[in-house]
């Protein structure tokens, strides 16, 4: 186990290193000029060049990237170009709302997705199955800003069940988490359905029935733990997909999280913040995958981590 974790740690560091290199390179070749954003339109060429020198942006790529890594080694994510504070402080302040939103979304998508998938599998070939699968298809294909605005209109503006936007109470969480969760729910219901259909065909389900077990026990005790195994691996990967959705959903609902921070930073080419948010997302994805891999053997005894 220790050897496994050590190996995974080395792998994770390499992955994160790769992510920083690719992101840094993309931002370097980007035609948008961060210095122009800082100096403003009216600034003279001398001012612009002096700021450029000050920030070290006149140096060649490898020097800039080397310096970034050196600072990263000292846990320094740099300073924002436009907001007068450290990137790590900005991210740290915005992390709790985003984590809360993600947790809410994961709960939404699992409850919705798994229930839909299980019911569809048990009613395979019926109208219920077809209806659920059409619903899941809509969930997968609907753009999140449309779903978000629709939710806002129906549940906040018309019905007034939930606040229109902002952050603070559980009521504020419901609509953004649901919007973010609907996409995943569509995905999970399809995966859960096919996984469940596959498991229900297995010989050990027939054995369980031949023992005289009640139907709910066959499904909950025998089919479900086996069917859920591929889903767990997916949740780890899912965090990456979430990061994209979070940018959209946080903007729509005015949720003060990392997504908003990233959105503002991208508009203003605030490179240190973009780098910081990317790195944090990458860490989240790596951790999510690791967590999924650590949980799987708890359910499936055949899997050993080596």
């Amino acid at each position: 186990m220790a050897a496994y974790l050590a190996r995974r740690l080395v792998e994770s560091v390499l992955i994160l290193l790769g992510v920083t290199l690719v992101t840094f390179f993309l931002l370097y070749v980007l035609p948008a000029d961060p210095v122009r954003q800082i100096a403003g339109r009216s600034a003279t060429t001398e001012t612009v060049e002096s700021i450029r020198r000050q920030l070290g942006l006149d140096q060649p790529f490898w020097v800039q990237y080397g310096r970034y890594l050196w600072n990263l080694l000292h846990l320094d994510l740099g300073r924002s170009y436009l907001q007068r504070s450290n990137v790590s402080e900005l991210i740290w302040a915005r992390l709790p709302p985003t984590l809360l939103l993600m947790a809410g979304a994961i709960v939404c998508e699992l409850i919705l997705g798994l229930t839909m998938g299980i019911i569809a599998a048990l009613r395979r070939g019926t109208a219920t199955d077809n209806g659920l699968m059409i619903a899941s298809f809509i969930g997968v294909s609907a753009p999140q800003f449309v779903v978000g605005l629709l939710m806002l209109y129906v549940f906040a503006v018309q019905l007034r069940w939930f606040p229109i936007g902002g952050y603070g109470t559980l009521a504020h969480l419901v609509l953004p988490a649901l919007t973010l969760g609907i996409l995943g729910a569509g995905w999970y219901s399809r995966m859960m359905r096919s996984s469940m259909v596959e498991v229900l065909r297995q010989d050990f389900i027939r054995t369980a029935r031949a023992k005289g077990l009640a139907r709910h026990r066959v499904i909950l005790r025998h089919a479900l733990p086996n069917a859920i195994l591929p889903i767990i691996a997916m949740i780890g990967i899912d965090i990456g997909i979430f990061m994209g959705g979070i940018v959209v959903v946080e903007s729509v609902f005015g949720w003060p999280g990392i997504g908003q921070l990233a959105w503002q930073a991208i508009q203003r080419v605030d490179i240190p913040i973009i780098m910081g948010v990317t790195l944090v997302s990458a860490v989240a994805i790596v951790l999510g995958n690791l967590l999924a891999d650590l949980v799987t053997p708890l359910i499936d005894p055949r899997i050993r981590l080596r």
Binding site: A3, A6, R7, Q202, D203, F204, R206, T207, A208, R209, A210, K211, G212, L213, A214, R217, R221, H222, P225, N226, I299, D300, P301, R302, R306
Partner: protein, 593 residues
Amino acid sequence: MTLAEAPKVRADAAPAETVLSVDGLTVSVATETGLRPLVQDISFALKRGETLAIAGESGSGKSITSLAVMGLLPANVRATTGAVRLAGTDLLRLPEARMRAIRGDRVAMIFQEPMTSLNPVMTVGAQLVEAIQAHEPLTRREAQARALGALKSVRLSEPERRLRQFPHELSGGMRQRVMIAMAIALRPDVLIADEPTTALDVTVQREVLDLLRDLRREMGTAIILITHDMGVVAEMADRVIVMKDGRVVEEGPAIRIFDAPREAYTQTLLAAVPRMGERPAEEPPPPRPSVCVLRDLTVHFDVGRGLLGRATHRVHAVEGVSLEVRQGETFALVGESGCGKSTIAKTIAGLVPFAGEIEIAGRKLHSQADITRAVRRDAQIVFQDPAAALDPRMRVGDLVAEPLVIHGIGTPPERHATVEALFERVGLSRAQIGRYPHEFSGGQRQRICIARALVLRPKLIVADESVSALDVSVQARVLQLLKELRDELGVSFLFISHDMAVVDAFADRVAVMFLGQIMEMGTRAQVFGNPHHSYTRRLIEAVPIPDPGHVRPSRERLASEVPSPVRRRDDPPRRLLLRDVGGGHLVAEAGPG
């Protein structure tokens, strides 16, 4: 009084009492064109302590009959007429909740596939306890004690530890014992065993059959044994029902069925069953040139990963095997699962890296990379499962012609002519060339695979369990085809099989393998007629004999476990030396050191 509360019929009841009767049972599947019968008008009665075998080939409806008794038919299949009576109650008319109380308690079932019939994520103990608690109001501790007792009665080694283990930690034979323990834990009146030993090695099959027989004697359980294997029928059954196409062909006491079968179908079925020791010893053919020679062939797979990703253990799949297949002969490799026989087939096909030397048609090969396209032209392979070996989206004619295309042989019309000729040769018609694999039966598909293997005119065909999945009557015809092809075309066979009777009927020379090494090698008459090695003798003794009158010497009944071919990297297995005991008959003995 509900049925679940009814007193169970115990062993002390009158011996001739009928526990289960099936009257005029018809089972049909719902199709787009209406109901299509799978089983028609079946009737039988099962007495206490009796073993009734339902024998038949695939598609005869024997498994559907047993599922109908259990009330476990698939959703689109149902029992349309007839009755299944257990102690006077018609099970077919029972609501599901009451049927559930009977299922597993008074009628229990064990299935063919022990490897997949247990839930992989639950411990053996939890699965046993669950079955017991579903029917008896016992506490967890009491149910656990009952489960332990059941595991002891199926003679599983270390029963306490098994309760805490997961299915994947047990071998196939051990899992089937667990399945039997689960089925008998509640002392059912009827035990339905659907092909209980078909997926098991012959020595394990022997142990499981002995166990079933002992349990029947001790508990008085009536057994319905569903099987295609007439050897198993002869060893186990008091009475036999022979089924074909959903109908009963013949019914009677086992001895009468085997000694004087009345129906033509039963006669053909019994005639097709391969039997050990029936083929007379023939003169050894004059020495011919060799087609395939293995010299010190060794195949290892590294497994397990240490700190730096280095393998910690090694599977010794094949460990220094040397043998020679001569032109026009059938050389059989026999052994139980995991002995390395299929690995040898894969090695010759170039699918596995190896050490040592393989010589095919004069070419000496020393690594996987040496097995080039030209080599493969001389050595073709026919696998066990023809359905999996044929691309379902290609026409069978194209499948057979494909090797010609790959090797760039002939023009399209020439290829077509070759394929047509081959189709006729393997017993298919020219008209079938444009069809797809799913339109053929299992035996026909294997003929297509054989045609594909022959199309390049190879010198050697490696047949890896090629007839094992076929029904006996089909198997007999495919073996006959292989014999004809061998004699006509002079092609050699490396025939890999676990079925000793088939090997005895078909092979010229035989090598017996165990844990990657050859235990005994010689002509068929030498190895089977005069086996020297104890393992060879054990294998031969374990083969079921299709003769109910045959008396088997009693033997100590212990669950044996095959040692593992996985060893630590620094702990290689001991190589055995082969000693000639006369006339080229080689027997393994421990080497020096």
